[in-house]
Symmetry: C2
Subunit: 454 residues, 2 copies
Amino acid sequence: MSQFKYMLEENELPTHWYNLIADMKNPPPPYLHPATLEVMGPDDLAPVFPQALIMQEASRERYIEIPDQVRDVLKMWRPSPLYRARRWEKALDTPAKIYYKWEGVSPPGSHKPNTAVAQCYYAKEEGLDGFATETGAGQWGSALCLAAGLFGLQCKVFMVTISYHQKPYRRIAMETWGGTVVPSPSTETKAGRDILAVDPDTTGSLGIAISEAIEYAVTHDGFKYSLGSVVNFVLLHQTVVGLEARKQMEMAGDYPDIIIGCAGGGSNAAGLIYPFLKDRLDGSRPDLRAIFVESTACPSMTRGVYAYDWGDTAKTGPVAKMHTVGHGFIPAPVHAGGLRYHGMAPSICALLDQGEAEARSYHQNVCFDAAVSFARAEGTIVAPETAHAVRAVYDEALACKEAGESKVILFNNSGHGHFDLAAYDAYLRKDLPDYVLEEEKVQRALKELPQVPA
Amino acid sequence: MSQFKYMLEENELPTHWYNLIADMKNPPPPYLHPATLEVMGPDDLAPVFPQALIMQEASRERYIEIPDQVRDVLKMWRPSPLYRARRWEKALDTPAKIYYKWEGVSPPGSHKPNTAVAQCYYAKEEGLDGFATETGAGQWGSALCLAAGLFGLQCKVFMVTISYHQKPYRRIAMETWGGTVVPSPSTETKAGRDILAVDPDTTGSLGIAISEAIEYAVTHDGFKYSLGSVVNFVLLHQTVVGLEARKQMEMAGDYPDIIIGCAGGGSNAAGLIYPFLKDRLDGSRPDLRAIFVESTACPSMTRGVYAYDWGDTAKTGPVAKMHTVGHGFIPAPVHAGGLRYHGMAPSICALLDQGEAEARSYHQNVCFDAAVSFARAEGTIVAPETAHAVRAVYDEALACKEAGESKVILFNNSGHGHFDLAAYDAYLRKDLPDYVLEEEKVQRALKELPQVPA
């Protein structure tokens, strides 16, 4: 066999992030204030986010320089490898060429530290003492705990209860890196106590955990809130993935026909896809297909509506125009905790709405079918979230076989599943449920959207 | 900061393994037959190991070619990175320069697949159906399950009971890659049943699990036995680690004064150390220090004797001259399951005996002290076994600080601790015991050594 992986030198790490918003003809509309539903300015966001990130959120600059101190930390594991999945291609007997960017090489094992490091750098520059945040499966929380420690910041993590109990190892990893973790909803915030009063046995949700983290941040001096996905600046920081992948695809002598990523809030998918999607938006690659893959348990893109909604359950965070199943929707307890978010990154939603990208959803068992096939061919046991991207690749590769087409497929292998093996155990024992979406729950949640004047 | 990591291209993967035995003035003496205690020939080993490996075991060739099919699989993750631990140096405030080879990038997360892949290749060439093996913490078993699957072989793993229960995730990983895992001692072998009859609550040991795996292999058609450490051919396969590291240290412009590895059977340490130790044996680097680090719970090198002993508890495997605490010794249930082996690689023992290397041991808490310090500076959460090497580096780095010397220290970061986080949890909660070695247990076990005529 010829080459399997394409590596870049440390000094080839990108020097600038790429801001797709600058190249969108119709960028997503601005955020609205959670109480007044008026357009929100930088000042309104100041109590929540560090100033530099608020500026990045609204930026229309195409390229934004990555500070040297951020690049120095990213060099702990970046540039990450790009793989050609030759063994999996053979196992699937497909004429498709499958490439993947492997983000599991970071210490927390996912793409998440790409933005955690940047956020902690700006927080430290601003003189903060620490961050509060939410986490689902724990990938984001562990990334922020590591990054916070490296910059001498504290980190307080509200971890969705179902994951806190399903994935104790992630909690331990966060504590090993020096963070503090509580299950959410907790009794430490009003938002958490209110939820527990109504439903003491709730499995929790990212929406609730976000509410708790925001409340904790704004009520504790020296703390601000850190978000691991959804917003523009997070997607911006993740573009190092796609910028590296562009160089590596050039080394491989290929250009993708289809790019695929799993999407909870959308950051890993956008991080890989945006630096390529630029070519579609400017007309040089009009046929490039971008596919965002979500869980059928929380189908914001494939079942939700494109409308304004609060980003969090307690309605304390910004209101954004996005695909949503409603801020009050509590998804079934699928193992892909990172895909249990009711909304989606506003920029991805705008692209979907403008026909520049596609969305699809899968139940969890077919994702594990594909993930086990991938593990046995390529070695890597991927995270349950990533398994959704792997399934979409699997389907596209088999479609190529059917059609006898040798398309080039690129996907973001966004993280390993080492802390999610209980899910593989359940799958292998045929004890993993596929939850039927409760349509009334969606209908009920969608009735609670804010009434925004047109 | 300047460079953090040194990478090699895929085509720089070594083409040959290095066989230190060829450069030893006094190689370790041959194995003895487990029943007759007569010198054992290749024919005696034939029922147990594939023929090609038996030939490698006895080889006096300095360089042995790595088959292309083996290199192709190793390329899934090799060459592995060499890191300069700049952040940890700063945290320790040491003038020492600390480098580490990072073997956690393999899918099973350790150095173990370096030999698993080679062994499965030769087994497949010989027309075998599968391998039986033992595993402690599960690093070896998971490596063999992955490699076996890639070559279309079955894999039956006897996993030391204490680890089977302490580390369920490793068992699930093995099953995800297609292997079959049972806790050892099991009721599937006579060796296992005999032990259970005497002590139904035993925590198990590597010595027992080896006996079970050998028995399973020789009583099942198409199966042979695979060993993950100790013997010459395994150490040989691990020299890709040190051969790569030599090139990478050259890139960094440094040469190690001290090389450190943790040692259960000794393969990761030897894999890194032997390609450098060549320079000491040939006189070009007479001051090079090699340090093998073991657990105080199973101190074969620092407390045992240098004598002939059986490699397994049921006395069915070869008898080797090695440092041993006795084949019947059951170590305390430390989390570093891979360091709970009663013996040590015969070639390492010969080097220790000849004054060419050093040994030391640590209790587990001081190892986790160092490992948490390392994790918070370098990101990586290392395996409990590896934590023993990390502790030795820590001590050497502080000795450099004391003495004001800027020595170059290189160690093998042999694997991640993602499946061992229960140990970190216990450590962080100050609930991790340091077991006092029961001297009478050692004395009793040492009385059972074979009576070999001088």
